[in-house]
Symmetry: C2
Subunit: 439 residues, 2 copies
């Protein structure tokens, strides 16, 4: 049986679109019956993000509601197989992003029948799926070995992340030679895509870790809140702000300044960006026992409005020089906002694209009274930041924060990685092609 058992998802979507059109004049009636329709069934789920382009999608793309992030260890020893995998992944990603199943995955070593799409996304639409690929240090040098003859191509900016103060990284959530960030407005669409790509890597690359995340923003397109209950991403430097939300009142920077690699190269990274990911567990139980005014001193913002302390609106510029009547800084010296602000880091900027995560419970020994040991939330923030150069971006900012940020008493970095995400591909090419052309 060599045919694909699925009708095209696109065909389904065309029909759905026609229906939406027919319903156009009955909009209010439809709104009244919406309670019977799950949000996941909302017609917005047929929206498509373009895959081909100068930059990879999923970086400056307005942030989707769900994320699956996977890191892989390469197990092949042949550079040609790495190149071939990236070509296969690129083609499959383009199919998936347009809302189509992967008709022929090409690899099924256990059967004479070609492997086909696993099918669970049929009928769900593209849901703004983006697939973003990155290369870890291990693609270039692993355990001191240049496995693929690519060591000379390693960008200077793709450093090994230093050990930061307080790091408690565990191997099963850290590192990786390749990464895929799959984001969509539906979790099943995002995982489905990642699953097809992982299948295509069978025998070439083994998934090392996998992280799920969600980001819920309000009906008005407000800045989403993280599990601390605070708005997260207000300070993002690029305008227009992701998510179509209320932008900063000050003019934004150009993505070319902050996010995209320019002439500094290497050539194959031009138009690309560097991703730093950190799996940050938050001690929610401990946080929830603290008073809101104490939380606001730690963050440096009001919890409800997101306004910097001493200001009125979320996007008002923070006044780091403002003092209260006793001469103490209104935004404390150890506030998260102060320590992370570009103004206090020589202008260093990153594009935050983080997701909350919740992986149930895990065994934790508390660092605070009553020093309980037991099952506590394994939940927090899967922090992702894109930048033109991590040495002058995340590393510069976080080196100081890891030592001084008052929030550190509630957070523990337990995983993550650094990845070079090349520029986008034109149709017929593949992500990272420039790297292999030179090799």
């Amino acid at each position: 049986m060599s045919f694909c058992p699925f009708t095209s998802r696109r065909g389904f979507l065309t029909a759905a679109g026609a229906l939406a059109g027919a319903l156009g004049t009955g909009c209010m009636a439809r709104a009244e019956t919406r309670a019977d329709q799950p949000a996941s069934g909302a017609p917005a789920l047929d929206a498509v993000e373009p895959f081909w382009g100068v930059h990879q999608a999923g970086i400056l793309t307005p942030q989707q509601a769900h994320c699956y992030f996977a890191a892989f260890d390469l197990v092949t020893e042949k550079v040609g197989e790495v190149e071939s995998l990236l070509r296969t992944w690129t083609n499959a990603a383009a199919q998936l992003a347009s809302g189509n199943p992967v008709v022929d995955l090409g690899r099924n070593p256990y059967s004479a029948t070609p492997a086909v799409d696993s099918g669970e996304a049929q009928g769900l639409g593209a849901a703004r799926l983006t697939l973003t690929f990155g290369f870890g240090p291990g693609l270039f040098v692993k355990d001191g070995k240049d496995r693929y003859g690519l060591a000379a191509q390693r960008p200077a900016a793709l450093v090994d992340l230093p050990r930061f103060n307080g790091d408690q990284l565990v191997p099963e959530h850290t590192g990786g030679d390749l990464c895929i960030q799959a984001c969509a407005d539906d979790p099943q669409v995002a995982f489905h895509a990642l699953r097809q790509l992982a299948r295509q890597a069978d025998g070439l690359a083994q998934m090392r870790w996998l992280q799920t995340g969600f980001s819920s923003s309000g009906a008005m397109g407000e800045t989403p809140r993280n599990l601390l209950g605070f708005k997260d991403g207000t300070q993002n430097p690029v305008a227009p702000a992701p998510n179509g939300r209320k932008g900063p009142s000050r003019p934004g920077l150009s993505p070319d300044e902050v996010i995209w690699v320019g002439a500094e190269g290497p050539d194959w990274m031009r138009g690309g960006s560097y991703l730093v990911a950190r799996r940050i567990r938050i001690s929610l139980e401990h946080w929830d026992r603290s008073d809101v005014d104490f939380q606001e001193q730690i963050i440096g913002r009001r919890k409800a409005s997101g306004a910097p302390l001493g200001a009125e609106g979320e996007f008002d510029p923070p006044d780091f020089d403002m003092a209260d009547k006793d001469g103490n800084p209104v935004i404390p010296d150890t506030a998260h906002l102060r320590l992370g602000a570009a103004a206090n880091n020589g202008g260093a900027q990153i594009l935050r694209r983080s997701y909350s995560y919740n992986d149930g419970l895990t065994f934790i020994a508390e660092r605070w009274p009553p020093w309980r040991q037991g099952m506590l939330y394994d939940a927090g923030l899967f922090f992702m930041a894109y930048q033109r150069d991590p040495r002058t971006g995340f590393i510069k900012i976080f080196d100081k924060m890891s030592k001084l940020d008052a929030l550190n008493q509630f957070t523990t970095h337990i995983g993550g990685g650094i990845f070079a995400c090349p520029g986008g591909a034109v149709e017929g090419g593949f992500i990272g092609q420039g790297l292999f052309r030179r090799a």
Copy 2:
């Protein structure tokens, strides 16, 4: 500081509703710009499910897109504190389900300030949140002890689940004295609600395990697909079918026959239902290496359409007597569909309300060639079934399936529990009140 820092979520929602009304005449224009709006920001997220009523919400409620399920161990030794916790939980659940924050959680042993809502759901709407409470066997008898003087009230139907063939249940995902099922169309709303309730239990009940899940259905309200890629829930006995989806062609049964406890009692369970939950890991890697026609023989249905083998439409009744030209049954003897069907279980019926789950990777030793050991998906189905009596429902059906179902080669039951979910509460009362009134 004793005031709540949050404006009412309801106030926010009223404004959002007015805006939606104003946009009514511009429906098509809005549809065209939908790509900029995440699905999580769709206005449907302000929909409210009623909390008070004869039955608890979250059982027959059309299935929401996200679920958080938590089981708790009671640590208090006083029955009055259990009763008080249930009253507190009921009141908080009613607030949360209507889209409001919990203004005063009443317990903050670490501060003179009352604990307030943790805030991350502000601006998100009620998202059809339901909170469903259940009592495990441990509320009545634990380690042979009648801790609360409630042993005589234990319903005969609340049996300890037998050990089924193939069970590999682990304590950290199994059991519990109390449970809360939190379902909503937004994951942050669901977790937020559970988090507030867990805080109120501080010192009285300790969360034992926590499971997240998702269920994605298509834009047309079709039966959702599980991670096997097959539609899941087609056989549900009750009409109208959950999710407002295409119903079965045959007449459905009444919920009173299948789901709700009637005169057989005990009185405090009248209008309630019994929940059996099972955390079922699916070996997705192995499943994905099998051919689709083989998968269809295992399930007994077509993958794309959901039609029973030998039939055309998803809701066509399966013909278990049909044979092929060689005399073999078209729906194999070991097919999942055949073994689970009411017709082959003396009419036994359950209401499936399952969610897919994906908790990343975990260390697994494969049971099949090439017998790999390593990091594989910790993903599958968080199966939940509601029924009037588990002895004639899940236990009867699954006893046979656990021995014969061809799907078992791909699935492992690794956790779960059984819970008596009392009837609903009227305003001023609380869930389970009848149990304590008699004690």
